[in-house]
Amino acid sequence: MDFSTILTYMYTEIALVGVIIAALLYDLIAGARGRKYFHGVICTLMLLFIAGTVWPYQQENASIFGGMFVYAPIYSIVKSVLAIGTLLVFLLSDSWLRKPDTEFKRGEFYVLTLSTLLGMDFMVSAGHFMMFFIGLELASVPMSCLVAFDKYKHNSAEAGAKYILSALFASGLMLYGISFFYGTTGTLYFEDMVPMINGSALQILAMVFFFTGLGFKISLVPFHLWTADTYEGAPTPVTSYLSVVSKAAAAFALMVVLIKVFAPMVEYWQTLLYIVIVLSITVANLFAIRQKNLKRFLAFSSISQAGYIMLAVISGTPYGMTSLVYYVLVYMVANLAAFGVITAVEQNSGKVNMEDYNGLYKTNPKLAIVMMLAIFSLAGIPPFAGFFSKFFIFAAAFEQGFHVLVFIALLNTIISLYYYMLVVKAMFITPNDSPIATFRSDNSTRLSLLLCLAGILILGLASSVFDGINLYAFGM
C-alpha cells in the first residue's frame, strides 16, 4: 500500500489535517495584524476544504490499513455534512471570538474544533474498535476544552468539568464493553467480529456498555444528565457545535456499528433502542416545557430530536440511513439558525432567557423571523425542511413495523409543538415594555444565518438532496 492508495480513500482526513496545520501555523506566524484576518482565512480554508471533499470521489467501498479504516461513499457524505456544520459554527462564532477575553485565543478555538471534527471523521470511518475509540476520544477531549473556553466565567468552567467527567465515565464503560467483545470474539476488527456475534449474555452486556458510551455523546435519556448544564454553561457557539455536529457524528457512527457489527443481535438492540427512544422523546419534551433559559430549552429540544434521529437507526435499513443523514442535515441548519440568533442576541445584549425575547419582532424583525422559521423547521411544519425529514424518519421506522413507536413519537411532536410555539409566542405576541434594543449583527453572523435559512427553505422542497444521499446509502 503506497501513499496514493491512502490518498484515494483518506482524502478527507488528510485535507482536514492540512487545514489544522495551516491554522496552527497561521496562529504562530501571523502577528497582531494578521490575526485580524484569522476569521476570514479559516473560513476560506474550510470553504475550500468542503468544496474539495463535498461529493465522494470513489464510488465503491474499500478498506485500508488492513481493515482499520473503511471508506464508503455515504461516509464521505456524512463527513461533508459535519464539515458544513463546522463552517456554519465558525461563521456564527466570530462575534463571540472578537471579545477581548477570547480574541487572543482564537487560534486555539479553531484548532480544537477542527481536531474534534477530525476525531469524528475517524470515528465514522473506523473499521476496528480501537480506531473507533481513538476517534471518539479525539472528539471528546478537545470538546471539553471548548466547553470551558470562557474559563473566567464560572458557568463555563463548571460545564467543562461536568462534560469531561461524564465523558470519561462513558468512555470507560464503553471500553469495558469493548473488552467483553474482545473476550468473546478474539478480535476487534468489525469484519472478523460479525460471524462470532451470537447474542450470548456477555455480548448483550457488552453491547449495552458500548451503547452507553455513544448514548452519552448523542445525549439520549438516560445518559442525558450532563446535557442541560453543559449547554447552558458553554459559550453559545460551542453549544451549537455540541448539539449538532458532535451529536450527528455519534448518531451516524452508532448506526454504522449497529448495522455492520451487531446485525446478528438485531432484536436485542432494537428492543434497547425502542425503550431509549420512547424515554428520550418523552422525558426531554416534558422537561423542555418548563425551561426559561433558551439554551437549556434547546438542550432538551436537542435530546428529543436525538430520539427522533434514533427512529432512523432502529429501522436498520438503507432507507433509514438516508433518512438519518438527511434528518441530521436538516436538523443542523435549523438548530444552527436558532443558535445563531441566540448568539447574536447574547453578544449584543447579554440576554438568553425566554422572557427577554418578548417583543423581539418589534425591534429586530429579521432575527425574529429567522428564529421562527428555525423553530418551525424543528417542530416539523411544512413547507420547511424539518417537515420532510420528520416524515421520512417516521416512514423509515413505520416501514419496519414500529407502528406504536411511530405513534408515540407523533404524539410527542404535539408536545414539542407546544413548547416551540412558546418561543414564537414570546417573539411575536407577548408585549414587552423593554424589549431587546434594535441592533445590527455583524456580516459573518448574517452570512451564517442566511445560509441556514436557505437550507431550511430549500432542503425540503428540492428533492435532489435526499435523492443524492439515497444513491449512496445502498452501498452500505
Binding site: 432507507y319 404524539l411 414564537v424 435526499f466 439515497n470
Partner: protein
C-alpha cells in the same frame, strides 16, 4: 403549466408582492388583484371542468398532472380535480376574495396579516387540488400553522389560549392523519402515494383497515368539528380576526369533511362500512349538541361557532350515510355552510367593529341604525335555518332525503334526531335576530353609528349573491357534484 398549479402559485406570488409593497395602498392593490385573479381562475375552472365533462371525458379526475418528487418513497406532486374539488376551490376563491374586503380597515401589521392569510390560502388550495397523499398532507399542515399567529397576534379576547388550543388540537389531528397515511401507503403495497391508484388496487387487509379507519377519520374529524374533538372551534373562531374566522369556518373546516370522505372512506371502504355506526352516533351528537349549545350562548361569535359545529357535523353525518344523494348533500352543505358562515362572521366583524361588543345582551335595535348590515344578517340567518330559495335549504333537504333512504331502524332514528337540529337552529336564529336587530336601541352610543362602507358592502353582496345563486339554481352544481360522488360511493359499497 397545469391550470390547477396556479391556485397555490398565485397566493405565493401575492406573498412575494406583499413582501415588497411599502404602504397600505400597495398591499390592498396586491390583495385585490391576487384574489380577483383567484376568483376568475376558479370560475374559469368550473367552466373548463364542465366543458370537459360535456365533451365526454369520464375519467374520475380531470386536468391531472404529476411529476416524481421524492423517488425513494414514490412521492409525487400530483394534481387533479373532480366535481367535489372544483366546488371547494370555487368556495375557497370566493371566501378569499370577500375576506380581503372584510379586513380592509385593518390597521396594525397589515402586511404580515395578509402574508399569513395568503399562506393559509396556499394550503387550502393546495389541499383541494392534490391527489397524492403526501402532497395533500403537506398542504393540510401548511393551512394549519398560520392560524396560530393570525389568531395570536390579531385576535381578540383570550387569543393566546385559543390560538394554542386550536393549533395543538389540529396538529394532534394531523398526527393521526400522518400515521394513517403511512398505514394506508405501506398497507396497500402501492407504487405511488396517488390516492386513486391506492383505491384502484384496493388490497389493504381488512384487519389493518379497522385500525387505520378510525385513526384517519378522527384525524380529519378534528378539523371537521367532530364531537368530542370540536372544542377548539368555538374558542378559535371567537378569538380570530374577521377574515380568518371566515376562511377558517368557511373553508378550513371543509378540509376535514373532504379528507374524511376522500381519504378515510374512499381508501378504507370495508372498515368504513363496518365502523360507520360509531361515527354516525358521534356526528348526530355534534349536530344536536352544537345547535343546543348555540341556543345558550350570548356572544355572537360563539353562537355562530356552535352553529358551525352543528352544520359541519351534518356534513360528516351525511357522508357516513354512504349513498349518492346524502353525499351530494354533504358537499352542497360544505358549500352552503362555507358561504353563509363566512357571511355571518363578516357581518359580526362589521358589527363588532362599530359597537365594540359582541354580547347580545348589550345589542338592541340595530335595524334602524345600520339597516344594510341588519338586513344582510337576517338573510344569513334565514339561509342558516334552511329557508327555501337560499342555499341552506337545498343542502339540508338533500342530506335528510339521502339519509332517510337508508333502510334500517338505526339510520332512520338518527336521521330523525338530526332533523331536530333544523328546529333548534330556527329557535336560536330567530331569537337572536329579534333580540339584536329589532326593538329599540337602548344604548345612546350606538345611535351614532354608521352603516356599511363600500368595501363591506362588496364583501357581503358577493356572498349573498352566491348563497342565493346556489339556492335558486342548485341543479348544475348538484349534478356536477353527484357525478363525482358516484364513483366514490360505489367504490365504498363494493
Amino acid at each position: 403549466m397545469n391550470i390547477l398549479s396556479l391556485f397555490p402559485a398565485v397566493p405565493l406570488l401575492m406573498m412575494l408582492g406583499l413582501w415588497i409593497s411599502r404602504n397600505t395602498k400597495q398591499i390592498h392593490a396586491v390583495m385585490v388583484a391576487g384574489s380577483s385573479v383567484l376568483l376568475g381562475l376558479a370560475v374559469a375552472l368550473v367552466f373548463i371542468f364542465l366543458g370537459m365533462r360535456a365533451d365526454g371525458q369520464t375519467a374520475e379526475m380531470l386536468l391531472t398532472d404529476s411529476f416524481m418528487w421524492y423517488r425513494p418513497l414514490n412521492i409525487e406532486y400530483a394534481v387533479g380535480v373532480d366535481g367535489i374539488s372544483v366546488a371547494m376551490i370555487l368556495l375557497s376563491a370566493i371566501i378569499v376574495f370577500t375576506g380581503t374586503f372584510a379586513s380592509w380597515k385593518m390597521k396594525d401589521g397589515v402586511k404580515e396579516f395578509f402574508m399569513w392569510f395568503c399562506l393559509l390560502s396556499v394550503g387550502v388550495f393546495g389541499f383541494f387540488i392534490s391527489v397524492d397523499l403526501f402532497t395533500m398532507f403537506m398542504f393540510y399542515e401548511v393551512a394549519l400553522i398560520p392560524m396560530y399567529l393570525l389568531i395570536g397576534v390579531w385576535g381578540t379576547g383570550r387569543k393566546e389560549y385559543s390560538a394554542m388550543k386550536l393549533t395543538l388540537m389540529l396538529m394532534g389531528g394531523s398526527a393521526l392523519i400522518l400515521i394513517g397515511i403511512l398505514g394506508i401507503y405501506f398497507g396497500s403495497g402501492a407504487t405511488t402515494m396517488n390516492l386513486n391508484e391506492i383505491a384502484a388496487l384496493h388490497n389493504i387487509p381488512v384487519e389493518m383497515q379497522r385500525i387505520w379507519f378510525p385513526i384517519v377519520f378522527i384525524g380529519f374529524g378534528v378539523l371537521g368539528a367532530l364531537f368530542p374533538f370540536h372544542t377548539w372551534s368555538p374558542d378559535g373562531h371567537a378569538s380570530a380576526p374577521t377574515a380568518v374566522s371566515m376562511l377558517h369556518a368557511g373553508v378550513l373546516m371543509k378540509l376535514g369533511g373532504y379528507g374524511c370522505f376522500r381519504i378515510a372512506m374512499y381508501l378504507l371502504p370495508e372498515a368504513a362500512q363496518e365502523l360507520s355506526w360509531i361515527f354516525i352516533i358521534l356526528t348526530t351528537i355534534s349536530v344536536v349538541y352544537g345547535a343546543f349549545s348555540a341556543c345558550v350562548q350570548t356572544d355572537l361569535k360563539y353562537i355562530n361557532a356552535y352553529s358551525s359545529v352543528s352544520h359541519c357535523g351534518l356534513v360528516l353525518f351525511a357522508i357516513l350515510m354512504m349513498n349518492t344523494t346524502a353525499a351530494t348533500g354533504a358537499v352542497l352543505q360544505m358549500l352552503s355552510h362555507g358561504l353563509m358562515t363566512a357571511l355571518f362572521f363578516a357581518l359580526i366583524g362589521m358589527i363588532y367593529g362599530r359597537t365594540h361588543t359582541r354580547d347580545i345582551r348589550e345589542l338592541n335595535g340595530l335595524m334602524k341604525i345600520m339597516p344594510f348590515l341588519s338586513v344582510c344578517y337576517v338573510i344569513a340567518g334565514l339561509a342558516n335555518l334552511g329557508l327555501p330559495g337560499l342555499s341552506g335549504f337545498v343542502a339540508e333537504m338533500t342530506i335528510f332525503n339521502g339519509a332517510f333512504m337508508v333502510n334500517d331502524t338505526f339510520h332512520r332514528v338518527v336521521t330523525i334526531i338530526a332533523c331536530t337540529s333544523i328546529v333548534i337552529t330556527a329557535v336560536y336564529i330567530l331569537r337572536l335576530v329579534g333580540k339584536i336587530l329589532y326593538g329599540t336601541c337602548t344604548n345612546p352610543e350606538h345611535l351614532k353609528l354608521t352603516d356599511a362602507t363600500w368595501d363591506e358592502r362588496l364583501a357581503v353582496i358577493v356572498l349573498i349573491v352566491a348563497i342565493a345563486g346556489l339556492g335558486l339554481s342548485p341543479l348544475w352544481m348538484s349534478d356536477m357534484i353527484s357525478e363525482s360522488v358516484l364513483p366514490i360511493i360505489s367504490h365504498i359499497l363494493n
